[in-house]
């Protein structure tokens, strides 16, 4: 048998979770090569934890996409992350900006 084919079959049968995790991550950034795809698909069939990881990666991507967009809408005010400090923050900012403009 062709060495290359043999190598691919071996890879399909012996892919480990850490290699699979790496492929799943790469898949978020570029399409995998065919043999990589086969190996990963086979691994996902037999590995419950990797299936979970794969679902979670996709979920994270969709959460981040939403969060990344959420500041751009004119009325959206995402949390200041330090509730209760909003007023002090804004006062400080206004003051500093005034000072800066005055020194121009």
């Amino acid at each position: 048998m062709d060495r290359e084919i043999l190598k691919n079959i071996l890879r399909i049968l012996t892919l480990t979770c850490d290699q699979a995790a790496q492929l799943m991550s790469q898949m978020q950034d570029k399409p995998l090569k065919k043999p990589e795809q086969w190996a990963l698909s086979f691994h996902l069939l037999i590995c419950r934890l990797c299936r979970k990881y794969n679902r979670q990666l996709k979920l994270l991507r969709s959460i981040f996409t939403r969060m990344a967009d959420s500041h751009t809408y004119e009325d959206a005010v995402p949390p200041l992350l330090d509730p209760g400090q909003s007023k002090a923050f804004k006062d400080r900012l206004s003051k500093n900006i005034r000072k800066n403009l005055d020194s121009m």
Partner: protein, 189 residues
């Protein structure tokens, strides 16, 4: 409008309005990306200053918010480029953190029951995510923020940070593993 005194006067007039409308959103945008409060606040201040100084250039063909985010985004990406640190990450130590000797998962992995839309609006979740991002090393955080939050392509990130594709993938892979674990422990479990 060509009189500089005049435009400074106009700018002063706009300060409170701009601050109250946008400062919080700009701050949380910056903080999510640079993970340091002082730095985030400085960036917001610089952004608003830059906006006030060039107020006449704001054409109004985009929203104020979009315009301001554009300026801020520029500052963040500049910061990322200027401070690129080359951190060596030992392969084996790192792998042993997540995988056992048979290369199986060490983590249990609970089921994440969630709705992404609701989560993105949940203040508590934002805080947890922010804490988790803060835990990442600078090297990982930058790559991750540019790719996932700024939505740049992997080619763009590589070019901006002057790193190879392989290097980027390693960074992203590790960042994802670490974030997954952190979010699971602090939120989903």
């Amino acid at each position: 409008m060509s009189n500089p005194d005049e435009s400074v006067k106009n700018a002063r007039h706009n300060i409170d309005k701009l601050v109250s409308r946008h400062a919080e959103a700009l701050y949380s945008y910056a903080l999510m990306r640079v993970q340091k409060k002082d730095l985030a606040e400085d960036m917001v201040q610089e952004t608003l200053l830059a906006a006030l100084k060039s107020w006449e250039k704001f054409a109004g063909d985009s929203s104020e918010r979009t315009w301001l985010i554009g300026i801020l985004r520029h500052k963040i990406l500049d910061f990322f480029r200027q401070h690129h640190d080359r951190e060596q990450m030992d392969d084996e130590t790192w792998r042993a953190e997540y995988f056992d000797r048979k290369r199986h998962w060490k983590d249990k992995m609970v089921n994440w029951k969630t709705n992404p839309a609701a989560l993105a609006e949940n203040n508590e979740f934002w805080k947890i995510l922010q804490d988790c991002l803060k835990e990442l090393s600078q090297v990982m955080a930058k790559a991750f923020v540019m790719r996932e939050l700024e939505g740049l392509s992997s080619e763009q990130v590589c070019k901006h940070l002057e790193i190879s594709q392989t290097n980027l993938w390693v960074r992203l892979h590790r960042a994802r593993l670490q974030l997954r674990r952190c979010l699971e422990i602090n939120w989903f479990a």
